[in-house]
Amino acid sequence: MTEILVLAEHRRGEFRDVTFEMLTKGRELSQKIDADLTAVLLGHNVKEFAKKLADHAKKVLTVDDARLEDFNAEAYQKVLSHLISERKPLLTLIGHTSFGVDLAPSLATELNVPLATDCINVDFEEKKPIVVRQVYGGKVNVKASLHTSESYIVTLRPATFEVQEVEPLGGEIIEIPSPLKEDIPYKKFVEYYEPPAGEVDITAANILVSVGRGIKDTENMPIVEKLAGALGGALACSRPIVDKGWLPSDRQVGTSGKTVKPKLYLAVGISGAFQHVSGMKNSDLIIAINKDSKAPIFRAADYGVVEDLFKVVPTLTNKILEEKKSSS
């Protein structure tokens, strides 16, 4: 029987959302090509944990080993290359996450199995996967096919596939003895590190003014600080601002930062890369100011202003201050 494997991703005792997103997509594909859908759970003391996957897959394979408790690409690769060599699944789905990025390319190389990464869609045409990926920061899409093989690996972009409520599959939980024989000599997990929190919690703010690369220089930051001040909101930002050290990392919105849901999200000079949008798309009202009319942020925003932020933002700040003065 043709099989589709989905690698469950978990961290500190919780499944990551991408796990169920992949199982949703995996189920759709398994129906299309008449394949078995199998979840793979690598971890330590995961027997109870595995039951949570049983509703979403025909089978749940568990490998229990203390060396799999925290993600370690070296240990994960050893176990997965063993499983894939034995079972020869037509397709293995892995999340395009920090874990997946560390694991999938070396796994595919070891197995000599074609890999497509960061896919926003995957389909089969005559048992051969066809994927859609984004390039040039999400401005262009690519449709690509994988070279003919008996097995394929595809990593899926998180927060792209909507999890569907479905009939529980009541999957069978199968324990696989750990194939890890010797030590994991090259890589050692030491600890998790959480950067210390600052004085502003952007996840608690009703109004966020968020600034991106378009601000150009740290000297221009007062322009957006004033706008945030006038609105009584907090100042947040996209990744480049933290990379440059202009704001601390706890102000960053996006995949690698915070997920926010304010009443107003005013994006200033932010292009709207997928990683940023996934952290703010559920805001009640999104207004974006960007001079590039093709910026992906305008696909996430309710209202858009295609204009130079240096012209619009100071005017807007003054208008808001006037408004507040006249209504008080």
Partner: protein
């Protein structure tokens, strides 16, 4: 510490208008400015910082056309000691796998303790080349690296996870590390500095020099084949507020007032 840094010369597209070219498999690049891939700029900086602190050498390597020499010269000006450019007609349309195989042939006999590269390239965004290269070389790797501490036999790195969390790992040397943006502050180099770096060695190697066969590279040596490139369909689009700055500001204030936000 002897470090090899893999870099890519890419078009800057963050603020540019992009159009698909007539082949339907590429973008129009005539009006685009090419520069070092943003992630790789942090990788070369990290290598130079390590050299300044620990001694050793930095070799920078790229695969690309002659124009990519600009990126290599920039890296030499930043402090790399020598540069290698891999180029051949047969390399065109190589995906991440074929690219890693080409780099592997060029690197396998060079002495090194560490290979650094960016976590991904801003053009194709595969986030694969460094990790495949590490596997081909038989050395360990870590990606999305935000901090590197060198010890004698290993490096201690912080890997970026989702939601602001980091994972501290120890990776035995020699190793490949793919760095994340923000790991350091890339230095600027003047045109004068780049001109001076012209004295440094820049070697160009092709298919035959690397002992590769044509079928191992390009499209035939790749895992994936591009079928089509297209501008993504617009599912939802913002209502665009038009007018002069005053008019626009007034419209925004009206919207905010209607929702009780001012």
């Amino acid at each position: 510490m002897d470090t090899i840094v893999c870099v890519k010369h890419v078009p800057e597209t963050a603020e540019a208008e992009i159009a698909v070219d007539s082949s339907g498999k590429g973008i129009k690049t005539e009006d685009l400015v090419f520069d070092i891939n943003e992630w790789d700029d942090y990788a070369i900086e990290e290598a130079v910082l390590m050299k300044e602190k620990l001694g050793g050498s930095v070799t920078v390597i790229t695969m690309g056309p002659e124009d990519a020499d600009k990126t290599l010269r920039k890296c030499l000006a930043k402090g790399a000691d020598k540069a290698i450019r891999l180029t051949d007609k047969a390399f065109e349309r190589s995906d991440a796998y074929a690219t890693a195989k080409i780099l592997h042939k060029a690197i396998k006999d060079l002495p090194f303790n560490l290979i650094l590269t960016g976590t991904q390239a801003s053009d194709d965004g595969y986030a694969q080349v460094g990790v495949i290269l590490a596997e081909l070389l038989g050395i360990p790797h870590a990606t999305m690296v935000k901090k590197i501490e060198s010890k004698e036999e290993f490096v201690r790195v912080n890997r970026e996870l989702e939601g602001g969390l980091e994972q501290v790992m120890e990776v035995k040397l020699p190793a490949m590390l793919a760095v994340q943006t923000g790991i350091n502050e890339p230095r600027y180099v003047s045109i004068m500095g780049i001109r001076k770096a012209r004295e440094k060695e820049l070697k160009v190697l092709g298919l035959g020099d690397l002992g590769l066969k044509e079928e191992e590279v390009g499209e035939s040596g790749s895992w994936i084949t591009m079928e089509e490139m297209f501008i993504p369909p617009v599912e939802k689009e913002a209502e665009i507020l038009t007018g002069g700055p005053d008019e626009i500001a007034a419209k925004i204030v009206e919207t905010l007032k209607a929702r009780g936000l001012v």
